[in-house]
């Protein structure tokens, strides 16, 4: 009941625009799907009074690839590289979320070293993903031909270090396919830990520079502060998770609240900001980057010995069979709660009967009708950037 009251008094996002103001001289602006700042293919219909947004309606589906249907046709083993492409900024999290659900379905225990490896990869991936957020956010604020692109390329330079590390482990720079049911496919090569620690130190130093160019920059603060304020209760009601929720003052993080991987053995300090505006979300992400680098360093130092997979490497695509059962597993991806719900069995025991991916970006986008009205077109770009949606994950 308390949650339901959160939306009371807000502008009803589904209100017909003709009912909004009978004599209104509004301009309907199709913002996207081919627009430089929509983070992929995403469309908003903005009703503008001058430059002020009166109503915003998000439209998704331009990147729909029927991944969930595809998941019913491919076997359990074949699915990992498919979901890599969902959240194409954080592929590691996708793989882990999927395989966690399969392991739960099969009742398989993951070896301790594999759990630590997954933690390490997830945290490094979070830093890489947040760097891309910062890059996209500043390019939204500063333009592709200006200061924004300078920070953009600096962020990509740091992310490159992380991608090099992942490449050493898995052989792929981006779509890793390194997780499998029951553990990991690739162990760390010799000397990787030292190189990773050097890279972490370097990134930690450079995050100071990024902070100076963004969080301590007067223009950045002016553009972000008080813009797109999202109420914590409303965010909960919309199912929003991750940095967007924590920026609205709700202390919720699956890594601490429902530990998976090795998070029960590692300390996680959850970053929470109460303002709920774009600046708060930016601050949360900056603090998370630092925290993730710290956790990654701890994970490298405390990495246990042992097997990395509870199976022998599965060579047959049909190596895993499930006759019945269902499972849901979720983890804290860089964008929030990334969950996979899987029903086993059906006609072919080697394929899932149904697979549903709960993507955090989709829920973040659902806040747009509530927080856009009152903002200007310039703010709309900043707000969209601060929600950090990845359209591959929204549409699947």
């Amino acid at each position: 009941m308390e949650l339901a009251s959160a939306t009371r008094g807000k502008i009803d996002p589904h209100l017909s625009i003709y009912a909004y103001e009978a004599e209104a001289d509004l301009m309907l602006l199709h913002f996207g799907p081919q627009h430089p700042s929509t983070h992929g293919v995403f469309r908003m219909d903005l009703h503008l009074d001058g430059e002020t947004v009166v109503k915003a309606t998000p439209y998704i589906g331009y990147l729909h690839r029927a991944v969930e249907k595809l998941c019913e046709k491919l076997t359990y083993v074949q699915l990992t590289p498919i979901v890599d492409k969902n959240d194409y900024v954080a592929p590691m999290s996708n793989e882990q979320a999927l395989n966690m659900a399969f392991e739960k379905l099969l009742g398989i225990e993951v070896p301790r070293r594999a759990r630590w490896l997954r933690t390490l990869f997830a945290e490094l991936q979070r830093v890489a993903s947040h760097l891309i957020w910062l890059a996209a956010q500043t390019i939204d604020l500063g333009g592709a031909l200006g200061g924004g692109s300078t920070l953009f390329l600096h962020c990509l330079r740091e992310r490159e270090l992380i991608m090099d590390l992942f490449e050493e482990v898995s052989g792929a720079r981006f779509h890793y396919n390194t997780h499998t049911i029951g553990g990991n496919r690739h162990d760390l090569p010799a000397g990787w830990g030292e190189r990773a620690k050097a890279a972490i130190t370097q990134i930690e130093e450079r995050i100071h520079e990024h902070e100076a160019m963004s969080l301590h920059n007067r223009i950045f603060i002016d553009r972000m502060k008080g813009v797109g304020i999202l109420d914590g209760a409303l965010a909960l009601e919309l199912g929003i998770t991750g940095p967007v929720l924590r920026g609205s003052g709700v202390d919720h993080d699956l890594r601490r609240d429902a530990p998976y991987h090795a998070y029960d053995e590692l300390e996680v300090n959850v970053a929470v900001e109460t303002a709920g505006d774009c600046l708060a979300r930016a601050k949360v992400r900056f603090r998370e980057m630092r925290e993730s680098l710290r956790i990654a360093r701890c994970a490298i130092e405390g990495m246990p010995e042992g097997p990395i997979c509870s199976y022998k490497p599965i060579r047959q695509p049909t190596g895993v069979k499930v006759t019945a059962g269902q499972a849901y597993a979720a983890l804290e991806s860089p964008r929030g709660e990334l969950g996979t719900f899987v029903i086993g069995g059906g006609d072919t025991p080697t394929c899932p009967y149904r697979l549903k991916i709960r993507s955090p970006s989709l829920h973040s986008l659902s806040a747009i009708p509530y927080i856009m009205p009152g903002a200007t077109v310039s703010d709309a770009v900043a707000i969209l950037g601060s929600l950090d949606p990845i359209m591959g994950e929204v549409d699947r």
Partner: protein
């Protein structure tokens, strides 16, 4: 008749010189931005990428000339031409040296401000004629911005005018060299007036952090959204010319123009202009963009009052003999 010939010859020379400088300027900007962003910039076209501007222009001119079906054809065609004319027109009264000046008008400052202020018309023309919502928003923003920033620009320029007592730009330069500009002039109130001028100039020529009419991350490409090929090239060129002439004006009004500590002449003016031009790009590739309303805040709540104060200060300076 002699004056007309002088004007025609020097006008042609200065205009072609400006356009060549801009070609090199584009190369410089690309290299400079590349280095700032930990990359190399152009390397493939000619030695150290020097032919990149040529490649750019050839590419742009090859593009199909698209006119939207519902566009206002005449305005649409006229706008880019006017944009280049307005920005090149301001160069006519800029003294590059006592001799190299197309027309030494007695009211050069008024002429520059007038012609420069006209820039808003082709900008809005393009925004309106494109019949595109993004262009229209860009045009709206351009009008608000140019009209507002005209005020601090005029106030900033009034400071050297008040101090020197002349509206002729070469007169102002001559006054500066007579009054040891290197020692006394830039400090009070010249330097703050220059900062004011520089900010207003950035806003007038739509440069980051004030490139709000273009704002490609918000308005796709703002006023130039629907422009392709040669017409887009003209807009692109007009913007560069505007920036370059603005830099030259700043060098003449605030930094002693062709005068220097030794061997005064054309080279000083060129060096100062290019330095200011480089600063514009330094700013451009470092800063983010303001929002439209924040821009207005800065203009009316900060720059304009400060400008009025500076003009009063300059007037007091003259009245009480500080400048004598």
């Amino acid at each position: 008749m002699n004056g007309l010939l002088h004007g025609a010859v020097y006008g042609a020379v200065i205009a072609s010189a400006l356009l060549s400088v801009i070609a090199v300027g584009i190369w410089f900007e690309r290299k400079f931005a590349g280095r700032m962003q930990s990359r190399l910039g152009p390397t493939m076209t000619g030695p150290v990428g020097l032919l990149q501007p040529v490649a750019d222009v050839i590419k742009l001119l090859q593009k199909e000339d698209i006119v939207p079906r519902d566009a206002d054809r005449h305005l649409f065609d006229l706008a880019p031409v006017l944009a280049v004319l307005c920005s090149l027109g301001t160069a006519a009264v800029i003294p590059f040296s006592p001799e190299v000046i197309a027309s030494d008008l007695d009211v050069g400052v008024v002429y520059v401000l007038g012609i420069g202020g006209l820039m808003v018309i082709p900008t809005f023309m393009a925004g309106w004629a494109s019949n595109n919502k993004f262009s229209l928003l860009g045009g709206m923003r351009a009008i608000a911005q140019s009209v507002s920033y005209g005020v601090p620009l005029v106030l900033a320029v009034l400071v050297p005018v008040t101090l020197s007592g002349t509206l002729s730009i070469s007169g102002i330069v001559a006054w500066q060299s007579a009054h040891h500009w290197t020692a006394v002039w830039p400090v009070i109130p010249g330097l703050p007036a220059f900062v004011l001028f520089f900010m207003a100039m950035l806003a007038e020529s739509n440069r980051i952090p004030f490139d709000i009419p273009e704002a490609e991350s918000e308005l796709v490409a703002g006023i130039t959204t629907e422009y392709t090929g040669a017409k887009f090239t003209l807009f692109y060129m007009g913007e560069y010319v505007h920036t370059l002439v603005g830099s030259a004006l700043g060098a003449a009004l605030f930094f002693g123009g062709w005068d220097g500590p030794f061997r005064p002449g054309l080279h000083w003016m060129v060096a100062k202009t290019l330095l200011l031009f480089a600063v514009v790009y330094w700013v451009r590739w470092s800063l983010l963009r303001f929002r439209s309303d924040q821009l207005m805040d800065i203009c009316w709540k900060w720059l304009t009052p400060i400008g009025v104060g500076l003009v009063l200060l300059a007037a007091a300076w003259v009245t009480f003999g500080g400048a004598g």
